[in-house]
Amino acid sequence: MRVMRWKQRDPFNPLSDFEQLQNEINRLFETERYPTMSGLFDRVISPEIDVVENEDGFVVSCDLPGVEIGDIDVSIADNVLTLKGEKKEESHSPDSKVYRRESWSGSFQRTLALPKAVDTSAVGAVMRSGVLTINLPKREEVKPKQIAVKVQ
């Protein structure tokens, strides 16, 4: 399975391919740190995630620096995992001078369709030093079992 981020392509913009190329080159040089937006009506930020599968289950990790646990909402409905919340902007006093701002803030959301193998009743999430880790264990019956073969 290979999942790629969906890129909107505007058929009426002849330069869209160049813009996409520019974005990809910017990403390569890390000048663009702002995550992409998604959603048709409510524009929300899609934070970058990793999904790793191993024998015991799936692990979803997401970088959310500076986000408090109370501002994150992880839920599962009909085998769809939704991870959403709000990354609050650092409050400044009105007379402070902002010289530079590279961090992002606002509402964020990611949804993932989970495979049938996930035991949704045993999902756990941990937030540690700005990294959210969601553990999605597999059901016992789908875990690979070692069957010892005896040579007679």
Binding site: N54, D63, Y99, S103, S129, G130
Partner: protein
């Protein structure tokens, strides 16, 4: 910093930084997710402020289905001018965000001179 057990050199990226000045201090806010307090090193050498952090996240045990995050250590250098007090730098690390408060020297703050009517 150099670890003999590591075979490949890790990539280093500059963390996302917010810089603002407020009431005699300059506040740097650096986003370094995955970094604990002990993995962080902040040094001032002459006019250079060097911030390095190792991202100590164990390698994933399994197969990546989606891989969007960057796995890298953090490094950022700033040049300080003479108005910054080298001896008064406060650092707080919380939730993967480093807040560095640099105080501006008292002598460098502008003095207001009252003008009286003659």
């Amino acid at each position: 910093m150099a670890d003999a057990t590591k075979t490949e050199p890790r990539r280093r990226i500059a963390p996302a930084a917010d810089i603002c000045e407020d009431k005699g201090k300059v506040v740097l806010r650096l986003e370094m997710p995955g970094v604990e307090k002990n993995d962080l090193s902040i040094r001032i050498e002459n006019d250079e402020l060097l911030i390095t952090a190792e991202r100590r996240e164990e390698a994933a045990d399994g197969v990546y289905l989606i891989r969007e995050r960057r796995r890298a250590d953090y490094e950022k250098r700033y040049t300080l001018d003479d108005t910054i007090d080298r001896n008064r730098v406060d650092a707080v690390m919380k939730n993967g965000v480093l807040l560095l408060t640099l105080h501006i020297r008292e002598s460098s703050k502008p003095k207001k001179i009252d003008i009286r009517m003659a």
